[in-house]
Amino acid sequence: MNIKTEKRSQMKVITGNAAAAIGAKLARPDVVAAYPITPQTEVIEQISTFHASGEMDCELITVEGENSAMNAVMAASLAGGRVFTASSSWGLVFMYDAVLATAGARAPVVMVNVNRETPGIIAVSSGQQDMISTRDSGWIFLVAESCQEVLDMVIQAYRLAEDYDIQIPVMVHYDGFYLSYLSEGVDVPFQEDVDKFLSVLKDQPGRTTLKPGQKLGVGSHGILGGYLELRHKHVMAFERSKDKFDAIDKEYNDIFGRSYGGQVEEYRMEDADVVLVGSGSMCGTIKSVIDEQREKGIKAGLLKIRMYRPFPSEALVASLADKKAIGVVDRSLAFGFKGGPIYTELKAFETQLKGSKLISFIDGIANSDITTDNVVKMIQTTLDLASGKDVPEVTWVCYPEANKPQSNEVGGQ
């Protein structure tokens, strides 16, 4: 459905958290569950303010824990409502049983997760470990680079989750501390335009919902063939969501004048010799370094992953094949593997990349900044790889100690 409207602008300077809250408000959820955790707290504070002022007509449940937050919105969603909640790191893993149940029940819940370090070490700092710890939940994972993208992604998330062909819950991730508290210029859509964008859903067949007296029940046991049938349906819907997300990007562009490319965003990739693959706020830094490097004649490009789950393997392969060298930047660790998690996942498709070489960069963990210098180093290392030099498979950019030869004893060297 192509709706051409005048591209209207409402530029505001707001934080990433405020952008998420406004995105949710514009989608008009019926039920919102709120529980605070750094660095997400401002999201639910903003929503509470909207609710108290009458701007947001929803049932706001100030729950006593994140586990209850997800359980409450899952139930409200299965009853037929549009819902929203927000969490981060420890909160996300506390609600994890309900996160899994939500995906299994195919409830179209939308939430934001403000990335923060998890699991294991108590830390109130940025990193994507919480996203990695929960990547096999069966949810669609989207990752935002800027405050503008946070707002746009939240609105697109509703369009995607509630689509009759999809019916999978969607989690929008964005970096805590770097995006949550950062103020940027954001073009806030008008309510009528968001209503138009989401009105497509009303024209679709209705999904099954739980209502009194209809003799339908949800949460039935899956037994043998029945269980497998549901799993298969979920996997098929996951696959469909890739093209669907690309199509939604175009629909969004038609109304709001902003396109990001769908599952992945290509930045100066056409003639790139070396490519960095990244996700989240690091991409902003990488883009500006690429521009600088291009001035110096170095043909670098960025492939930004926007849809992390389902893993956009086809889009990645199409974009990366024939590139000489690819450096995958991970803001997290993959326990049990030497390289980062996204690097390890991409490596599974290495044979389809027709000779491209892959290396892993681990950076940005626990609030260590991914600086322009770091990015320059990464590009240089990847260039070395392209020219056939011997480079380590994994480089911990934020912790050079790890790159030195290690003894295998407890306590390191």
Binding site: A107, K215, L216, G217, G219, S220, H221, L230
Partner: protein
């Protein structure tokens, strides 16, 4: 193309508009309740306390259990204030 052999929906929904499942629980019991109609005072305690709710009014004379699903727990016999119900071993009825 995913099938709808086991589930009609994308998610784990069950539909009671289709016939309900039913186990042959009458097959479980080792004793069955037998009512002495003369002793029955029609109080209905057996009917309200039967966990399966299979004890029914027979006209206005007495209550009796529908044995299709009776599990033979003996609660009706125990609760009857006039001891009008006796639990008889199933063996007696299978000659």
């Amino acid at each position: 193309m995913p099938s709808n052999k086991y589930f009609k929906h994308e998610g784990p929904w069950s539909d009671a508009n289709d016939p309900l499942m039913c186990s042959d629980t009458g097959d479980w019991r080792t004793k069955r309740p037998v009512v002495d109609k003369d002793k029955c005072i029609f109080c209905g305690f057996c009917a309200i306390y039967c966990p399966i709710q299979v004890v029914e009014m027979k006209g206005d004379t007495h209550f009796e259990a529908d044995l299709s699903f009776c599990k033979g727990c003996g609660i009706c016999a125990k609760e009857c204030p006039k001891q009008a119900i006796t639990m008889i071993p199933e063996g007696e009825f299978q000659k």
